[in-house]
Amino acid sequence: MYRKFLKTTKSLTVSFEKGLNALTTQEHNPLYFHGALPLYIFWFLIFSGIMLWMYYIPTLERAWSSVNYITSLPVLSQVDGKWVTDATNAATGIPYGAVVRGIHRWGAAGMMIATVLHMLRVYFTDRHRSWRWLPWISGVGLLAVLLFVGITGYLLVWDNRAYALVVLTQEFLKSLPLVGNWLADFFVAGGQITDYTLTRFFFFHIAGATLIFVLIWVHFIRLKYPAVTPSRATNFLTFGFILAAAGTYPAVNITQELLTKYGSDPRITQYKDYIASDAPAHIGNLVANIRYDAWYMFPYYLIDKLGANWAWAILGVSVALLLVAPFYPKEIRDNIAEVTEAKCTGCTFCSLDCPFEAIDMVERAPGSKFKLLAVVNEARCSQCGVCVGACPFLAIELPHTHSKTIEADLVALLNQGA
């Protein structure tokens, strides 16, 4: 039944993509670059993050105001019935700072959306099982670390929402037996929230982003030719979307005072329901209703609405299901590539073509006719036969789909005629 489910999801996915092919052609279908897309967006996050880093001050007093300094909206004044920029205030911000922060913010949303699409696409087309377990498991790790980096990014703004998230995180961690209290203290760098707390969050954010690079390396380690960049058309389109989103809805800090003062001006009010940060955090002053970001804050929604124990249960079961997914249902593995040592010349063609790095070229004993020998790593072999197609010497074969059998079938077909 589960196999039938996977077959159906594959059929539906291919139908959808076929429709998209009609619009984009095979070469530029963004869904064929679903794995490269999150990595491409990640570069925007790295570069915009470095630019924000240059001005961010991780202390309780200065964090919110430093972010505000980067992204401050020009304060508007009404002159002769028209809104004009207050030149004095406009000069206090970083040029295009709100756009750079917007790229960081919208890029983060884009990366999570692209990552989830990538995961769903891999799962729906049944490309997560058996010999592909390592890319899948490392992908689950990447998803978790991405979530962590995104959440810590929200904390760095240090607005009312960030404070509420810290309180919820501590509640969440403290509910764990034995290590809960220690983890909660570790999270905020001590028993209470201090300047070190912001430094700790900043460390989490940067270290998490670095860890993403490490996990991407693990993700790719068994792929001979990983897709590291989408097509040029997809690149331009993605860049265009992020830039358009950042330009149209730049990330800004909106205070109640600003809304009151310029409440009727659409240039201010347009931001209030989108991505604006709240007023600066005040420790002990918890806001009643947190605006949850759909892509990064769903764990907090669970903690807030259901309590820490239910949140642990739901998240734990979800992660456990993701971790066992590549091992069920089991693949029949009786057609693993086999090398005939006497025929292998060590030409390396099979090793170069194997899509999953399943063939190592090892040194032969001194005095051998050939220097290298192909050796199949059985656990990595996908039974695809690409190595067989690459071998000019009939030295590597799939036992149940042997070249000799294929050629005999070919001759039989030709003998039949039409």
Binding site: K10, V14, V386, L410, L414, Q416, A418
Partner: protein
């Protein structure tokens, strides 16, 4: 295996990936296409398993033309099998076709499991281009 095969009628041999077009539903018990019995197919786990020498063998042993059909470019179940056979047949990757092989008689299609009709259409075009060659060697 016989080296000399008596040629009876026009025949085209296709090497088809089992995960590209829905080939199992398109053939009879003799591995001939239901829509075009002149076309016989060999089904493989992946188009990347096809050796250029096997396509040359088809031609030298009597086929009028030969083709390979793999997954859509960008969507190979085994990531790069279709790219490998395409590069081999285009002479960009080893092992390549012999220089003496008439490449006009070697076709390539890369399609999804939902592309039965586009495949038959493309095959028709390929057959017409081969037929246009006439008795030219």
């Amino acid at each position: 295996m016989s080296d000399t095969i008596e040629k009876k009628n026009k025949v085209i041999v296709g090497f088809v990936c089992q995960r590209s077009i829905p080939i199992q539903d398109m053939i009879d018990e003799h591995k001939a296409l239901l829509d075009d019995p002149e076309v016989k197919v060999v089904i493989l786990p992946c188009s990347g398993m096809v050796k250029p020498t096997q396509m040359e063998m088809a031609l030298t042993k009597g086929a009028d033309a030969t083709f390979v059909c793999g997954c859509a470019i960008g969507d190979c179940h085994y990531r790069t099998g279709n790219l490998m056979i395409r590069a081999r047949l285009e002479g960009e990757r080893n092992p390549k076709l012999r220089k003496t092989t008439d490449k006009r008689k070697v076709g390539m299609f890369f399609l999804t499991m939902k592309d039965k009709a586009p495949f038959l259409e493309a095959l028709k075009g390929f057959k017409a281009s081969v037929a246009a060659l006439g008795g030219e060697n």
